[in-house]
């Protein structure tokens, strides 16, 4: 095993982590401010991918597609918030789970109805499509590097938004005490719609970015959604900082586990058995990590409102 291979795997882990953060940030923000658990977040990820692919195919530009996916996801998020989600804030989590589960079914079939059952085609922009040479002579896909940079930039921007702006102040106030900020004269219904649309836009952005290296297809958001749940449980629900740290941990543990476990197990058992057992355990690794974190910190690494 070479150092270059190991470094490349670490970058891969970071890229997965950054992508999970984009999903988890929206989930955790929505939960933190409105106390809502949103299963349909994965559907917004999928919608982002589909809109980006469709618009990019139509205009010939990935960038227009990316902007369109952001706008579409935010608009759809706002619409869903106004029509459905708004009625769920006062309900218990069971109702929220079921209503958003219903939305998952409707979105999946709706997207199939509009775009058909075939996977769509989306390429990264031409100047990012090849590899770049990193210091030390290592080759790495330019587009993945761009995802890492874009994701970290979004994380920084989100941090600034929450700590420095008026909207951020209202969000923080909302997390701390929901009734209080209504009393302060903030239009709380509007605030909730904005926060939900922001979360939706982040998910749509992630879906568009990922659609260009994976395939844009029905149900593409579901595995990501469940990983994002693991991330926010580990990080502490409601905490953006926790989501960032946990997303990077999950990304690294998952990538390095798949890469190292079969090799490590080959030292103690026969090679083909090690491959099978190794990949079986690697697929469970992040859930085991979550269980361990819960034993020691039942509210996650960075408990919100602590």
């Amino acid at each position: 095993m070479t150092v270059a291979l190991f470094l490349e795997q670490i970058l891969n882990g970071l890229q997965l982590g950054v992508m999970l953060f984009l999903m988890a940030a929206g989930l955790t923000l929505i939960f933190g401010v409105m106390g809502l658990i949103n299963l349909a977040h994965g559907s917004l990820f999928m919608v982002g991918g589909f809109v980006c692919a469709a618009v990019a195919a139509w205009t010939g530009s990935f960038w227009i597609g990316l902007v369109a996916s952001l706008a579409a996801a935010a608009a759809l998020g706002a619409l869903v918030e106004i029509i459905v989600i708004r009625r769920l804030y006062d309900r218990d989590h069971l109702d929220q789970v079921l209503a958003t589960f219903a939305l998952v079914l409707m979105f999946s079939e709706g997207v199939r109805f509009v775009f058909g059952s075939f996977p769509l085609y989306l390429d990264p922009p031409a100047f990012l499509s090849g590899p770049v040479t990193l210091p030390g002579g290592m080759l790495y896909p330019a587009y993945r590097l761009a995802i890492i940079i874009a994701g970290l930039a979004v994380a920084a921007g989100l941090g600034l938004l929450i700590s420095r702006t008026r909207l951020g102040m209202q969000i923080r106030a909302g997390e701390a005490d929901r009734e209080m900020i209504a009393a302060l004269g903030v239009d709380i219904r509007f605030l909730y719609t904005v926060v939900f649309a922001l979360g939706a836009a982040l998910a749509g952005f992630a879906g568009a970015l990922i659609g260009a290296i994976q395939s844009v297809q029905i149900g593409m958001g579901e595995p990501v959604l469940i990983l994002a749940f693991v991330v926010i449980v580990i990080g502490g629900i409601g905490s953006i900082r926790g989501a960032l740290v946990a997303a990077l941990i999950v990304g690294l543990v998952d990538t390095l586990g798949r890469f190292l476990l079969p090799t490590l197990l080959a030292n103690v058992m026969e090679a083909s058995a090690a491959r099978g057992v190794g990949s079986a355990i690697a697929s469970m690794l992040i859930y085991l990590l979550m269980a361990v974190v819960l034993v020691f910190k039942p509210k996650g690494l960075f408990p919100a409102n602590a």
Partner: protein
């Protein structure tokens, strides 16, 4: 009181309809409708299991498909060893496969109870939305394990070529198998009814309403919830065992998060915390799937819309609409 009587009568009526429908279908030579009713009965049993945790204990588990699948695999694995005459293990002692449903059910209940004990012990350290996500994640973990573990078919699943045996019945006949599943469902429902009124059931409902008060009485809310979660997992596991025999096949799909969601949907369609809620919900679900599935490829869209409407506008579900509100909530 009169409302309670109404629900009680409604339950008896529902039980009779679920029995009568398939009998009529059988004599009208429509064996497929009997099979459909069997499916509804088994899914209802899975919902009854979840209802013990969710309805009585307020534990919103989004991972009950795991227990359904574990129960199913217990049957699938033992039956496959019976088919090949290879013992499951030889040391320290020999365990052979079997095709006797009674034995298989016992094993399925024990294994799924054990799984519920481990998952519950960890998950119940948390509550609320954490609990929902953690149960989902643990179920997903078992799902991925079942896919990646090659010994019993992995993603391809495991076929049971001949339905397992029950003394005195020909389980391959649709009506015989239906009656068997129906009897199991009724027995479990009676047991749940008894339990709800007994000390444990009272304590469990008290925990849901006010945990602090229960703790002040010297009882451990954690233990009560864990016990309920284990019982709940066992019943759902038993349903999984029956489902394995209905399809003569088990696969990781039995553990997918969509199925966890669907089991929850049965409860909400029928009415949360109602004894017969999951039964009505499962029947409605199967009817819906059968009726719309043959009309449009996009039937899941309409299922979603119907579910959304029930959650938003008819919170009591079907039984709530017909029999009125629960007396105290």
């Amino acid at each position: 009181m009169p409302e309670f009587v109404t629900e009680h009568r409604l339950n008896i009526l529902l039980a009779l309809i679920l029995l009568g429908g398939p009998l009529v279908a059988h004599f009208a030579d429509e064996p497929f409708l009997v099979t459909l009713a069997t499916r509804a009965t088994i899914l209802a049993l899975a919902g009854v299991g979840l209802n013990i945790a969710l309805g009585l204990g307020g534990l919103v588990s989004f991972g009950h498909a795991a227990f359904f699948g574990v129960g199913g695999y217990a049957v699938g694995i033992l039956a496959s060893h019976h088919q090949t005459y290879e013992p499951l293990m030889t040391s320290p002692f020999v365990i052979n496969g079997t095709n006797q449903m009674l034995v298989l059910w016992l094993v399925a209940v024990l294994v799924s109870g054990l799984a519920a004990l481990v998952i519950g012990a960890l998950s119940l350290r948390t509550s609320g939305v954490y609990f929902i996500m953690i149960t989902l994640a643990f179920a997903q973990m078992i799902y991925y394990f079942a896919i990646s573990w090659p010994a019993y078919g992995g993603e391809d699943g495991l076929s049971i070529y001949v339905r397992n045996a029950f003394p005195g019945l020909n389980t391959l006949r649709p009506l015989d198998f239906f009656l068997l599943c129906y009897a199991v469902l009724i027995v479990v429902l009676l047991a749940q009814w008894k339990m709800t009124g007994a000390r444990f059931g009272m304590a469990l409902q008290a925990v849901r309403q006010n945990e602090g008060r229960v703790a002040a009485l010297g009882l451990s809310p954690y233990r009560i919830k864990l016990a309920a979660f284990v019982i709940s997992g066992m019943v759902t596991g038993l349903a999984g065992a029956l489902y394995a025999d209905l399809n003569r096949f088990v696969s990781p799909t039995m553990m997918s998060w969509h199925l966890s969601g669907e089991i929850m949907v049965f409860i909400i369609l029928g009415g949360v915390a109602r004894l017969f809620g999951p039964v009505v919900g499962a029947c409605l679900f199967v009817l819906f799937e059968h009726a719309f599935g043959s009309v449009t490829e996009h039937w899941q869209f309409f299922l979603g819309a119907a579910l959304l409407a029930v959650v938003l506008f008819a919170r009591g579900g079907f039984i709530g609409l017909v029999a009125g509100r629960v007396r105290h909530d």
